[in-house]
């Protein structure tokens, strides 16, 4: 039940960020909820299941974005790996620290994609655009995540007891 809910929630996050009407209403903000979701999965799920889950999320992201296939799979799996390492060394249950980590991961994603594109000699956005996107969209996504997340936790608790 919880597994199904998690998959459903992953799809819900992707629907939300690719939804034309939502983006239309909150333009110029564009959320990316899959980053906080990857961190959440990294902190709360088993490594193998979580790894496969974020791989799936990355795959769908790849299909629904204009980038190279495999780019988001790698970035999401790498992030998941990083969260597992952070989890072992830091206490991340605190909301403030978690927010900092989420924002940091927005930056990491930007740099990883930029690095990947740079390595193969392909064009990518400039540093100013990258930092602006990370900052603005990171804060907006964080805000949206903290609006949605309590609901998800509640539903998950109910599902576990069910």
């Amino acid at each position: 039940m919880v597994t199904l809910l998690s998959i459903g929630f992953g799809f819900f996050c992707i629907f939300l960020q690719t939804n034309f009407l939502l983006n239309h209403l909150v333009s110029p903000f564009k959320p990316d909820l899959t980053i906080p979701l990857t961190i959440y999965v990294g902190l709360s799920r088993q490594p193998v299941w979580g790894g496969l889950y974020v791989l799936g999320i990355g795959y769908v992201m790849d299909i629904l974005s204009g980038g190279i296939l495999g780019l988001y799979i790698f970035v999401r799996v790498f992030m998941f790996f990083l969260v597992r390492i952070l989890k072992k060394n830091f206490f991340l249950e605190n909301n403030f620290l978690l927010s900092v980590v989420i924002l940091l991961f927005f930056l990491i994603e930007g740099f990883l994609i930029s690095l990947g594109y740079g390595l193969v000699g392909e064009k990518f956005v400039g540093m100013v655009t990258l930092l602006k996107t990370c900052g603005v969209q990171g804060f907006f996504s964080l805000f949206l995540w903290f609006l949605i997340f309590p609901g998800l936790s509640k539903i998950e608790r109910i599902a576990k007891n069910f």
């Binding site: 992707i14 239309h24 992201m61």
Partner: protein
């Protein structure tokens, strides 16, 4: 020793996943393939859900916009904006024709007057990523759409078809960093390549420093690549800087407001009529 091997056992699947994803990315970098069967299904499923969600959300949004918020004013404004757009495009087309007429009369006779075969499509979703600029439309292979076809709007160039499934397609937008288009400055006929910057603007490259380009100049498609009809508006020059290289640094603001775009036209054929 036992703890170490237990850690390794936990770490191994994750490392395997990471290595797999890395090599999968490398493989796709070397062999950029078209959408496979499963990818098409995922794209189709997501786009259909988006379409359903849009339909569900459309009613309350429209109700708020049109009746509660502005009563009759919004409708009137929309009509005026549409009329304004039509006149604006007509004006730009006439200016383009007038400028070309003197020098290119012979070529213009059969190019300018040829009507386009257009297919109207509705936008159902936007790119999942923060860094790529694309949109999903509700028309696909079954409607005659093919990869690399041009997407335009009454205000000008929107983008190019990137991925196609049977019923939905993805349009890479003019502002995406992977988009490039051969263009000319309408006033001076200086040629250059317009490339997206990944935000709301584009850069016009390879325009010689000696060319007279000013802020406010209109940039249109050259039609040389055969995808976009010649003279389609791309954008307006917003800044021109001289550099140490032989070329100018020109920034262009697209005429199309991608945040407000709701429908696009796909150029099926550069000769024909509008298909609704």
């Amino acid at each position: 020793m036992a703890t170490f091997s237990a850690r390794l056992r936990l770490l191994f699947p994750l490392l395997a996943l990471l290595i797999f994803s890395f090599f999968f990315l490398l493989y796709n970098l070397r062999h950029p393939s078209r959408l496979a069967f499963f990818e098409k299904k995922v794209f189709f499923f997501t786009a259909q859900c988006q379409e359903a969600l849009n339909a569900a959300f459309a009613f309350p949004v429209q109700l708020w916009k049109r009746y509660v918020c502005l009563l009759g004013v919004e409708e009137k404004n929309r009509m005026l904006a549409k009329e304004n757009e039509r006149l604006w495009q007509e004006n730009a087309a006439l200016r383009e024709s007038a400028l070309s007429a003197g020098r290119l009369r012979e070529q213009l006779d059969f190019k300018r007057d040829s009507p386009l075969k257009l297919l109207a499509a509705e936008i159902v979703g936007v790119d999942a990523s923060l860094y790529f600029k694309s949109m999903f439309i509700d028309k696909g292979k079954k409607d005659g759409i093919k990869k690399n076809m041009a997407a335009i709007s009454p205000r000008g160039v929107v983008g190019r078809i990137l991925k196609v499934t049977n019923s939905f397609s993805m349009v890479i937008l003019l502002v995406d960093q992977n988009f490039a288009l051969d263009t000319i400055v309408q006033r001076t006929r200086s040629r250059g390549v317009v490339e997206g910057m990944g935000d709301s603007c584009c850069r016009m490259k390879y325009v010689l420093s000696s060319d007279d380009i000013r802020s406010g100049d209109l940039v249109v498609t050259s039609g040389l690549e055969g995808v976009f009809p010649k003279g389609t508006v791309v954008g307006k020059v917003v800044s021109v800087k001289k550099t140490s290289s032989p070329f100018k640094d020109i920034v262009i603001k697209p005429m199309v407001d991608f945040g407000k775009l709701e429908e696009v036209f796909i150029v099926l054929d550069q000769q024909g009529r509008v298909v609704w």
